[in-house]
Symmetry: C2
Subunit: 284 residues, 2 copies
């Protein structure tokens, strides 16, 4: 996805909101805003938003000399999500139809996506999860999803946030395939790293791998050559969340995107309304 | 008022929203964002927001080669407000108590302040006016206002937006004093100029004057020496709207501010909630 004019003020807004997670020093926050403002004129509109996100978070980390300020918050998100796990596991098990089960697991995986500090400061996981579960998918490519799943052997599952990782377990279980679960190499806001995925119990269901990229939205050009091969060869790619959509939506291989549209720009781009949930296939 | 960290992303957001009023050329809009982003690191936090607003609107005008894109929209706002005038005039006349009449006129003048393109794109004047009239003043310095009014001869009334000018007539009539009505020297967004004030019929009730400043919020340092004298000597100063508050709130003379708090920064600064209405006196 390309950068929209509306993304540009939003980058500065994100820099401030994220900066406040890393520091409360007003001088450092002003420095973050100044340095991010300085790079904005060099952002061409054909860049993908996570390319700029990457520069922003690198600046924030450098200026605040802080690498992982949400370490404890991410752990707490995971713990809270784990507490809710049995409740939704029971609901999932109670569904008899395999088709409805898969749809519910997809919705659970999308619902986990509400755990996102970059967009919202406060959240009540349970309430928000139920709200998402009560929605219909505004784009629903589940038929394509099922067809690809039937043929697939290896699935690349590109993770989004810590905490959300717990809700990915429902879908990974339902997929019942060999899954490679792709996390960020280094902490960036609350995006899931290997540590977060393990804390969620993903390692019991899938193989956790890094891609070489730590931008807040996977950018294939930044990944290792090994990952690039995996990305091309995988029978099926599932991408979680808005950031990964921004990074991957112009790739030329089939990808299934599971996300909640958290801003107007993404919603317009997808032709849905803000806060809609989506299962969108590309190149199929 | 000083610049808050939150004002900085907002400047860029305002530049885009205002830019879109001046042009729909994507390249020009990107140029506006780039040039505004470039000046942001030079904005110290002790600057008043309208100082930056001034730079932003000058850039927008220069880049788009457009001086007054809202000329026709301002005229329409004024016409719509004039259509509503008899309705509220009747309501005002129906009030018997002089005290209640003054309060109602103050609220009407504040209600006119909802006509603001810089903050909201769409509005329904009548509905929004009634909503404001139904609110209580979150800061109500009317006793001080009445006391000063009793002693005053000349009143400096610093105008805000076109259209709002129509609603200022109610208050100017109630004041029943010699009023100098201060407008912007040049068009800046939908701020009132002499033309807009005349179209609202202000010239029948007050003397319209310019200050020498056309920033979207009066900055005394940019005014003529003649205006500076008037500002110091006036028995009473009434300032309308958020922009003028941002420009004048640190002046050391008594001023009455009539406004609706349209953003969190202003609301926090005033100790009220967003969308609250305020009659605030300073230095008295």
């Amino acid at each position: 996805m390309k950068t929209n004019l509306d993304c540009i003020p939003c980058f500065l807004d994100q820099a401030l909101r994220a900066g406040r997670i890393y520091t409360d020093d007003k001088k450092l926050l002003k420095q973050i805003l100044d340095e991010v403002a300085t790079i904005l004129p060099d952002v061409p509109l054909d860049h993908k938003p996570p390319e700029t996100g990457d520069l922003i978070y690198k600046k924030i980390k450098k200026i605040t000399k802080t690498q992982d300020p949400l370490k404890s918050v991410k752990r707490k998100s995971t713990e809270e999500a784990l507490e809710l796990f049995p409740l939704y596991e029971k609901k999932l098990k109670a569904i008899e139809s395999q088709e409805k089960k898969l749809l519910f697991a997809i919705k659970l995986a999308i619902a986990g996506n509400i755990i996102d500090f970059a967009v919202e400061d406060e959240f009540d996981i349970k309430k928000d999860v139920d709200e998402v579960l009560n929605k219909e998918l505004a784009i629903n490519h589940i038929e394509k999803f099922k067809k690809e799943l039937e043929k697939a052997e290896t699935i690349l599952y590109i993770a989004d946030n810590a905490g959300e990782t717990v809700f990915d377990r429902f879908l990974i279980s339902e997929l019942d395939h060999k899954v490679l679960y792709v996390v960020r190499d280094e902490p960036v806001i609350n995006d899931a790293t290997r540590e977060d995925a393990k804390a969620a119990g993903i390692d019991e269901l899938a193989t956790i791998i890094e891609s070489g990229s730590s931008s807040p939205g996977l950018l294939i050009k930044n990944t290792t050559s090994e990952f690039k091969k995996l990305f091309q060869k995988a029978d099926m790619v599932i991408s979680k969340g808005q950031g990964n959509f921004e990074g991957l939506s112009e790739e030329d291989r089939p990808i299934f995107f599971l996300l909640k549209a958290k801003c107007e720009v993404i919603a317009n781009h997808l032709g849905v309304s803000k806060d809609d949930i989506v299962l969108k296939a590309i190149n199929i």
